[in-house]
């Protein structure tokens, strides 16, 4: 056995014939912290098995350490899972607990999760890429399964019954006419275990809890308003902070007259280099104090605007900046194929910046105890934010604790910790806990955005209309989903990094949404120009069965090629991302120049369906979010300021915008389940764009508008 352990613990291992395939160092400090918090019991640590579930092949010999989890069985028989994942509305507090409950044969209410508390959970890179459940659930399940086996070992000894004769149900192990509870088996001990490499998981057919629509853990706290998101937290002696900001998204502070604020009772002005903010006894007072400060800012001239943006991106492109997809991928000779082609089709698609607009804005509560810092904040990367804080204050990471309350969503928009750093700096100045809550305009201007981009496609077809060349260049919006799923002999794709005038970062579906939009709009345009049915044209170029299946299902469901009501337009798009397949058919109507989406028929396949109800919930959420980018959303900016940075001007989908959505879920029990929270967004815009073309030419930019 090669796993290392800490000698201060009584170590027990569930011994299997094959050794673990990685070395695992127990995080001793954290384990001690957990035992100190929850008392004695059994603690099992698990990490992701090589190549597990994700379909990735881990490089030989290197232990994948990016997904870890612990399971604790306490003296009172309660089970706690520890994970660095955050609950941001994707319901993993429930679905991960289900995985644990199943393997330990206990009812769901016996299990709870400690999530995203850096002092108590194993390191985690972050909650993104819709991978939380598909990758974390099996790890927790493995830990739970190992805990179960260790409990069975102990029970066999304690009951004096043959191990094989034992049964385990509802936290009790029975054998030889007697039974013993989980809690009694671990009483007064600090037992630890490490999961063997091939810890067997239950076959899916044996699942009792997983895959069933369990009521959301803590659901009641949301309908009663009791749940406290970060903006709702209070700490004893807590004060309220507010930052001094430039009027736009950028600017350098030149002069400050803070006498107005300093004169206010209960107000502290905090200045540190370019950092300026106020702390006050109430949030209202902090707001008043901040606006009493007279500050002047210089904003550089000639900054790009929403109109000059696309030229700017192309002009600043540099292959040196690198990034995924920046090395061109080429098969065949597309340039040559184009010169030999019967027809060529070239177009440029422009993708604007869009904002995540999570309803819970950035917020943080920071508290210092000597040189130890605790910050509560809504983030998808608690450990990343811990690093940011450690760097900002030049203290070791182990003196920083980040705790993430279940958060009012993120959609990829909460990877960073600026709010945490700001609250911590203010708290340090006044030596009291300080809360900072971004206003909605601050959230627009000082968060980050989904990247804008320019996409150029040059395609060519032969005399029969078959695609012979496909050249695809993406400036700035990102390198995911660049490749075309269609059969084309000569292909070149490339991502060009560029200088983004606005702060940009992750977003649900990210680059894939932009790349899908351009590619599918282009396929649609070619089919139209050739006078070929758009579904038929795609099928001629598709050999992937999964893609064909979703495309055909959506077309059939929508009644392709006729809309369900005369006078409407019907459009379609298909694609694949992160291992799942999607096709979306959109039916739209036009009144004057206004497009209305009347109906969406969506076929989706993400491997085996575990929980159809939960899946629908996620898929619908992604589709509705996609409606915003398709129909209204685009950040406008000029002179260093975002000009539509509030909810009155920046419209997100509302009830009246939501069409009837028919969801066709294709089950592939023979394939592993992959994350579903992102991919369904990618075909919404091109399906709508294609449908809009029924009524006339559409512009080459998102959101979809008539040209």
């Amino acid at each position: 056995m090669t796993a290392r352990h800490d000698e201060t613990f009584e170590v027990e291992r569930y011994e299997l014939s094959s050794p673990p395939t990685w070395r695992f160092a127990l995080e001793r400090r954290t384990f001690l912290a957990i035992f100190a918090t929850v008392g004695s019991g059994l603690l099992v640590a698990a990490t992701q098995a090589r190549g597990q579930e994700s379909g990735r092949t881990g490089s030989q010999g290197s232990a994948p350490t990016d997904v870890k989890a612990w399971v604790h069985v306490s003296e009172d028989g309660r089970i706690t899972g520890y994970t660095g994942k955050t609950e941001i509305g994707q319901n993993i507090r429930t679905s991960l607990a289900q995985a644990i409950a199943d393997e330990l044969h206990v009812p769901l209410d016996r299990v709870s999760l400690v999530m995203a508390d850096t002092d108590l959970v194993p390191f985690d890179q972050g909650t993104f890429g819709s991978l939380s459940t598909p990758r974390m659930a099996p790890v927790l399940a493995r830990a739970a399964a190992t805990a179960r086996e260790m409990l069975l070992d102990r029970a066999a000894a304690q009951l004096g019954a043959p191990r094989a004769s034992l049964t385990c149900d509802a936290g009790q192990i029975t054998g030889g006419g007697r039974n013993v509870g989980f809690g009694d088996l671990v009483k007064g001990r600090q037992l630890t275990g490490v999961v063997p490499a091939d810890a067997p998981l239950m076959p899916r057919s044996a699942w009792k809890v997983r895959g069933t629509p369990a009521p959301k853990v803590d659901g009641r706290r949301f309908v009663t308003g009791e749940h406290r998101y970060t903006p709702d937290l209070t700490r004893p002696g807590m004060l309220h902070g507010r930052m001094l900001r430039p009027p736009g998204y950028t600017g350098t502070l030149t002069t400050v007259d803070d006498s107005g604020a300093r004169g206010m009772d209960g107000v502290t002005v905090v200045r540190d280099g370019t950092f300026a903010g106020v702390v006050a006894s109430s949030a209202r007072l902090a707001r008043r104090a901040a606006s009493a400060i007279k500050a002047e800012w210089t904003v550089p001239d000639g900054l790009p605007t929403a109109t000059t943006l696309y030229d700017h991106l192309k002009a600043t492109a540099s292959t040196a900046a690198g990034g995924r997809g920046s090395t061109p991928t080429q098969t065949g000779d597309p340039a040559k194929a184009r010169t030999a082609a019967a027809r060529t089709f070239a177009a440029t698609y422009r993708i604007p910046y869009i904002a995540h607009v999570p309803l819970e804005p950035r917020a943080a509560v920071a508290e210092w105890e000597g040189d130890r810092l605790t910050v509560w904040t809504g983030t998808q990367r608690p450990f990343g934010v811990r690093s940011e804080l450690a760097t900002a204050f030049r203290i070791p990471e182990d003196r920083v604790r980040v705790i993430v309350p279940d958060t009012g969503s993120a959609y990829g928009g909460k990877h960073t910790g600026e709010q945490a750093v700001e609250a911590a700096r203010l708290a340090k100045a006044v030596n009291r806990p300080v809360k900072v809550v971004y206003s909605r305009p601050e959230e627009f201007s000082f968060g980050y955005l989904r990247p804008a981009g320019v996409i150029e496609i040059a395609a060519a077809v032969d005399a029969e209309g078959r695609l012979t060349a496909w050249e695809f260049d993406n400036w700035n919006s990102g390198g995911a989903g660049l490749a075309t799923p269609y059969d084309v002999p000569n292909v070149r794709t490339q991502f060009h990094a560029a200088e983004s005038p606005l702060r940009q970062g992750s977003y649900r579906g990210l680059a894939s949404t932009a790349n899908h939009h351009a590619r599918e709009m282009h396929m649609d345009a070619i089919a139209r120009a050739l006078g070929v049915d758009a579904v038929e044209y795609r099928l001629r170029h598709l050999t992937n069965d999964r893609m064909r299946a979703v495309l055909q299902a959506a077309a059939r469901g929508a009644g392709w090629p006729k809309p369900s009501v005369d006078g409407r337009g019907l459009g379609i798009a298909c694609g694949t991302d992160k291992g799942s397949y999607i096709a979306t058919a959109a039916e739209v109507s036009r009144t004057d120049n206004v497009l209305k989406v009347e109906r969406l028929v969506v076929a989706y396949e993400c491997g085996a369906i575990v929980n159809p109800d939960g899946l629908r919930h996620q898929v619908e959420g992604a589709i509705i979010q996609g409606l915003g980018g398709a129909l209204f959303e685009a950040i406008t900016f000029a002179n260093g300021a975002i000009t539509n940075g509030n909810m009155a001007k920046y419209r997100v989908p509302r009830f009246k915008d939501v069409p009837s959505i028919e969801l066709l879920l294709l089950d592939r029990p023979d394939l592993p389940s992959v994350g579903a929270g992102e991919t369904p967004i990618v075909c919404v815009a091109p399906a709508i764009g294609s449908a809009a073309r029924t009524f006339g030419a559409v512009a080459d930019a998102l959101p979809v508008r008539f040209a």
């Binding site: 941001i88 949301f222 009663t224 308003g225 998101y229 709702d232 209202r284 989908p653 009830f655």
Partner: protein, 180 residues
Amino acid sequence: MPTYTLRINGTAHDVQADADDTLLSVLRDDLDLVGARYGCGEGQCGSCTVLVDNRAMRSCVAKVSAVAKAQIVTIEGLATNGVLHPVQQAFLEVEAFQCGYCTSGMVMATVALLRTTPSPTDADIARVLDRNVCRCGTHTRIVRAVHLAAERLRAVTPSAGADGRLGEPALPQVAQEAQR
């Protein structure tokens, strides 16, 4: 700074605030009633919705001085003795939320809607709840929850009174004489 007596969830609270301070800031900062959420502060998202004299109002744009005489009910005042209001119960059963940040406002807006429209159509629901944003895209489930709540409330009082009072649990009120 003037003192206002606000009648919230059946209790009178004296708060010191400027006349144009918002009800939301008083609820959250002075009274620690944080179930009404801050989402935009501009009356656009509805996550701060409370009932003011039985009507849905966005507390982030309601001035304290304007609601000083009213009966205010927040999400914290809906359940009675631990029993959820039928609208809360319906949202819970249908699980009409993902992150839940919009839920307080959606529930309060629904309570108000069902008081005037006991049998809302999908179009009625969309028209009224259009002022509330759910960024997670839970719309279809929310509509389902509203219908379920309406059905339950109608079952309690098959014939809603002409005044629109339904058979829902009485919401907390502060009697006039209870005021100082």
